[in-house]
Symmetry: C2
Subunit: 399 residues, 2 copies
């Protein structure tokens, strides 16, 4: 039996009934929540019905295994605390359908997967971090979520049905389909994206410490105002960074905490996040230098002290050239002229998988560029086209 | 018996035992707290011992009355949640000593006062707002503090010993001594300040609403970043406002709330406080126009919407010319060449009193310009010099 788009869509809609938000098609299915675990058990049942062998590893990563060695296709079925129905769920159900159709058609073996905690309730891409060996299980077990639960406690909820970690060499490569989570594909009208690189991320906390003062009695020239230092830093950085970046580079100040944060008090302290992303590790390093220099200069100008925290890094990951080529060939065959190569500005499990096997990624458009929100959506025609391209590339790579 | 500086200092130190923070000389004596009420009852006892008639009005404002009609000298004995030992307490105990010494010396009648809730647990200068008729008691009664207590409930704690409101015409004028709460006097080495005006305050909330987006997948040119709008607004305002202000003008962004305030999310919304102070109502209005225009322009430039809240205003209050002259004459007599005229950048009860009777104010230095903090302090020699100048001016004005 060939690929069945309606079965794929039906399963995708069924999956959003686990943790349904009741607002649009949104879901609340955080890793290890009851809804997440129920969804994984339902997925395992669908795998079994398809003749794939379900296997939970100690983290709760769920594999649907075919053959001794196979291509692996999938993504993650956990969501943000308030998430959309597609996000990783799309790639998981697409992987299920591709693996199921290959088995039914007597094609080369294709396995599927739903990684656990891609959304980082604990850590970042916790499930694939641990499986690919980037993060030790013992260390991850001590990670806590925002309410103080440890990963060890939470994965304990799945202990009754988990097995061992699978060896990586059981799989010959990894393909992941995902919504873009950005506005590029919709803007350009090119409905499919073949991912070239998953960008690297640098994240640091910066603080400026000045002097908290009365906002009525402290003359402007004697102030050491931490907010003014932040604003000047941002302005200077925006102007200087233009020399270093390219159009795909992004940088963001997304978190700001002023102290004491009162309208009648000159702010004595500010802590803020500085995050930047690019596919080129050298550019990330040049940006880091510029950020440090600018923060130090502005601090001196404003008579405040700058404290620059540790830089947390996730390295850029290039997708495998052959995997890109097969995805591109399938896209061109099914949607001639309607696809493009592009980097992924968001992080995905494929970035981890690329460190242990060849990996490739395919994007479908996000309506309005919206993701991590209940109103995230994609036209069903785009979902089905993505499924067909993914299937075609997976069979070519598995064969 | 003449003015007794040691008795004044002893009473001032005794007063800080009510609500002592245990950190330096700091106090925690918020309006209507048990410590505040105990302090007021102790002050009432000290008034009675001095032959002054203690009188609590319905708000808990405490007067120590002398004669049928008299000068009034005082300030407030409530503190910020975490406050210094001097602040309003200095002016209250100075008023007590001046009134007590005048009575003992058989001089003209001088009364003293401690207003309630100058620090604005409810409202702004709640006790003197209500007494001077700026604020109706019925309205004030509905005000709540940050934990939801109403003023009506809190002043109910004092109901057993309060009487009626006193008529304003019982007093011929008001003098208030206070710490500067800023760094001017210490910086100039001129140890006393005769206040010319209490500056007016304008306060508004501004918000910029853009679009919350993924910080990895949203290219810079498509962002509608609320934090970037705030930073650009601040930069533009600082540059434009120079045309309008004078060296005593101040303006402050002290409160900033970003949404969702996460390092991986382009901020979709920011709300912030914009406060400005000046002694000239026209200048305050010109600044308001500039702030509105700049916010609108920056919003348009950044593709965000600006929402400008209601402007809350406290009008500038000029101190009475004769009261200024008597304070200046006393300062020049006791500390030749060591005083200056200056505006008050902080708000004080004298601003309200000036609307119903002639009023004057005297400042003593704040070490390091620090106030509203446990380490607020002033040299005792400066406290005593201030007391002597206040006493001299009060007797001249009462006579």
């Amino acid at each position: 039996m060939p690929l069945d788009p309606q079965r794929f869509l039906d399963d995708l809609h069924k999956l959003r009934s686990f943790g349904a938000s009741g607002v649009g098609k949104g879901v609340m299915r955080q890793a290890y929540s009851d809804a997440d675990i129920a969804a994984r058990r339902w997925l395992a049942g669908r795998m079994e019905e398809a003749g794939l062998e379900p296997h939970f590893d100690p983290l709760g990563n769920l594999f649907g295994l075919a053959g001794e060695r196979s291509m692996l296709v999938g993504s993650h079925s956990d969501s943000q605390p308030e998430g959309g129905w597609l996000d990783g769920a799309l790639g998981v159900v697409a992987g299920l359908e591709v693996a199921r159709a290959a088995r039914e058609a007597g094609g080369p073996p294709i396995s599927c997967v739903s990684f656990q905690d891609e959304e980082g309730r604990f850590g970042v891409l916790t499930g694939s971090d641990v499986w690919t060996g980037k993060l030790a299980l013992e260390e991850a077990d001590g990670f806590t979520d925002t309410t103080g639960n440890t990963l060890a406690e939470m994965r304990g909820k799945m202990a009754g049905f988990t097995g061992n970690f699978l060896p990586h060499n059981r799989f010959s490569g990894f393909l992941e389909m995902h919504i873009e989570q950005g506005p590029y594909l919709e803007e350009t009208g090119l409905g499919l994206g073949v991912v070239t690189d998953i960008v690297g991320i640098r994240d640091m906390r910066i603080s400026f410490e000045g002097r908290q003062n009365h906002a009525g009695t402290t003359p402007m020239h004697l102030r050491r105002d931490a907010f003014q230092a932040l604003s000047a830093f941002n302005t200077a950085l925006n102007s200087r960074i233009a020399e270093v970046v390219n159009p795909a580079t992004v940088w963001t100040i997304g978190h700001v905490a002023l102290h004491p944060n009162a309208s009648s008090v000159v702010p004595g302290r500010v802590e803020f996040s500085m995050q930047w992303r690019d596919a080129d590790a050298d550019r990330l390093a040049r940006m880091q230098t510029l950020i440090r220099e600018t923060a130090q200069e502005i601090a001196a100008d404003h008579n405040v002290t700058a404290e620059l925290g540790t830089v947390m890094g996730i390295e850029p990951a290039a997708m495998d050239a052959r995997f890109q080529a097969e995805l591109a060939a399938a896209a061109e065959a099914l949607a001639p002229g309607k696809w493009q190569k592009m980097p992924s500005g968001a992080l995905h499990d494929a970035a981890n998988l690329a460190t242990v096997m060849p990996a490739g990624m395919l994007f479908v458009p996000s309506i309005g560029g919206i993701s991590h929100a209940f109103d995230e959506d994609t036209d069903e025609a785009d979902l089905v086209l993505g499924l067909q391209v993914l299937d075609s590339a997976a069979r070519a790579l598995a064969g």
